[in-house]
């Protein structure tokens, strides 16, 4: 297997539980204990009510494409073109930036998608999506 040369996300103390869960092929979101809102990306306080009672909860992994682009000209030689960048709106509410693993001609706004875990290195798994 050739070396993985794309940029690897580097977890912070706040985000580490998300990345550790991804490695176990689980999609974990924070949820506010005070107002109940699901939150993505990981943070220290609830952006909705400012409470500091955030807990990790496993998400369904289901959602739909909120928007997307098809990259025909990447800025780095490490990314193979064309590829699909997307914002996926999860059933729990938050939106995530991700890739859709699909034929670029097949993707569309509102397309139902399900989580797909891409083990890009032994230490790091990227959360991506495929057609549901």
């Amino acid at each position: 297997m050739s070396e993985y040369t794309k940029p690897l996300p580097k977890p912070s103390p706040t985000s580490r539980p998300f990345w550790d869960a991804a490695k176990r092929h689980q999609l974990m979101l924070q949820r506010c204990g005070a107002c109940g809102q699901f939150i993505y990306y990981p943070r220290d306080r609830c952006p909705n009510c400012f409470a500091d009672e955030l807990k990790w909860q496993r998400a369904s992994g289901l959602g739909k494409v909120y928007s997307y682009t098809v990259v025909h000209r990447a800025s780095s030689r490490h990314f193979m073109e064309p590829y699909i960048l997307a914002i996926v709106e999860l059933d729990e509410g938050p939106k995530m930036t991700t890739n859709i693993v699909a034929d670029p001609r097949a993707v569309h706004v509102d397309m139902p998608v399900a989580v797909y875990f891409d083990d890009v290195t032994p230490d790091r798994t990227l959360v991506k999506f495929k057609a549901a």
Partner: protein
């Protein structure tokens, strides 16, 4: 009207050529742009006592420039910022002069935006530095999300779906700004294009084609701000600062994708402040400038700033409305799409020249304000150029605006 409306003026503008590549330092280019702006105003280095600049860790600093030009400054500041910074630094200058921190302030941007650090952060053809996928970038860069085209493309795609607008509206903007560039001897791209040329150009980041994307250039540009009283003695009639908003933000400003509607952009939160301060309505605006990193960014700012309703911008720009001699000329120098990329300064510079009635076009008498208005002969001066609204942004979630008034009819 705002307490400071018309009390402060833009009195000098200047820039280098648009270059690809410059083979120069950002210091050298900044000194040339500021020297040109001083000559334009009729000022010498000892008349300038404040200097501000913006950059994204890709440029020289005010201290270096002041040293090279032999200036002793009462105020200097270099901020981290891109689009929307020009108008913010002009607002900043107004406040500083009013408060007595300085008398005459030059604001500059100097960048090797093509031959040096390009937007998106990479050295051309090289690897993305590993450090860039840390901290704030850990949730985008690993998936190959690094460039402005990708980010704005995401908003554009959703906008098309929500409004029924098509990419032909994008083409209208490309064609209008290119038409203006054909009248601008300084512009990089000067051949006219059609809607069909746009529709046939290759995909860069869908829904953006090549002709939706701005050029990248090496350039420096500068603007000098002073008080109305000092402006009277300078070379040109003053261009008055009527109002604006400066780096106004949406909610959740850093992570646009997490907002409820990603194409409900920052201008929506700012324009009532700018128009209220200026004491004008949209009907009073004779022409606009509208930050065109992409065609879509012009489109969306027109509706965000109230020139038309939400979702109506596609209809609004149809039929060449943004072209000179039509209802609302936009980016009269050709803008980022066709003139060159200055991170927003050149739009303010062009607006100043238009408001002075001294667009530097092919008319032999432009320096005296004598224009033919014959577009076939290369005149790019707007006939009625009294009030201009300049709209700029950095991202969807941050925007600035600068409403200016000239004295020429």
């Amino acid at each position: 009207m705002g307490a400071l409306t018309d009390k402060y003026c833009i009195v000098g503008v200047g820039e280098t050529q648009q270059m690809r590549p410059s083979n120069r330092t950002t210091l050298s280019m900044a000194c040339e742009a500021i020297s040109n702006a001083m000559a334009d105003a009729g000022l010498k280095p000892s008349d300038i006592d404040g200097m501000t600049s913006y950059q994204v860790a890709d440029s020289t600093s005010s201290a270096h420039v002041a040293t090279a030009l032999g200036m002793r400054l009462n105020y200097c500041l270099d901020i981290f910022g891109g689009g929307s910074s020009t108008e913010a630094l002009v607002a900043h200058a107004v406040g500083l002069i009013e408060a007595g921190y300085a008398k005459t302030i030059v604001c500059f941007r100097s960048m090797n935006g093509r031959s040096g650090r390009r937007m998106g952060g990479q050295i051309p053809g090289g690897p993305i530095p590993a450090a860039m996928a840390a901290d704030d970038n850990q949730f985008n860069m690993g998936w190959g999300w690094t460039t402005p085209a990708q980010r704005f493309g995401m908003s554009a795609m959703r906008y098309l779906r929500d409004t029924g607008c098509t990419t032909k509206a994008f083409a209208e903007i490309a064609v209008a700004h290119r038409y203006h560039a054909t009248l601008n001897p300084k512009a990089i791209y000067r051949s006219p294009i059609t809607i069909e040329d746009h529709q046939r150009s290759r995909w860069v980041v869908k829904p953006f084609r090549l002709l939706d994307c701005c050029t990248e250039t090496d350039v420096s540009a500068a603007i000098i701000v002073t008080s109305r009283e000092r402006a009277y003695d300078l070379r040109h009639p003053p261009v008055f600062i009527m109002g604006g908003y400066a780096r106004t933000m949406t909610e959740s400003p850093q992570w646009n994708y997490s907002r409820p509607v990603i194409h409900y952009v920052a201008g929506n939160y700012g324009w009532k402040r700018a128009f209220g301060m200026a004491g004008i309505s949209h009907r009073d605006v004779d022409f606009v400038s509208c930050y065109d990193a992409f065609t879509f960014t012009t489109l969306i700012q027109l509706e965000a700033n109230g020139f038309c309703g939400h979702g109506e911008a596609g209809e609004f720009v149809k039929g060449g409305r943004l072209q000179i001699d039509h209802e609302l000329p936009s980016n009269l120098s050709g803008g980022h799409l066709s003139e060159g990329y200055t991170h927003g300064v050149q739009m303010v510079i062009e607006n100043v020249r238009q408001l002075r009635h001294r667009a530097d076009d092919a008319c032999p008498g432009w320096r005296e304000g004598k224009h033919t208005y014959d577009r076939a002969k290369g005149c790019r001066q707007v006939k009625k150029a009294r009030i201009c609204c300049g709209m700029a942004w950095g991202w969807e979630n941050m925007a600035s605006c600068l409403i200016l008034r000239g004295m020429a009819a």
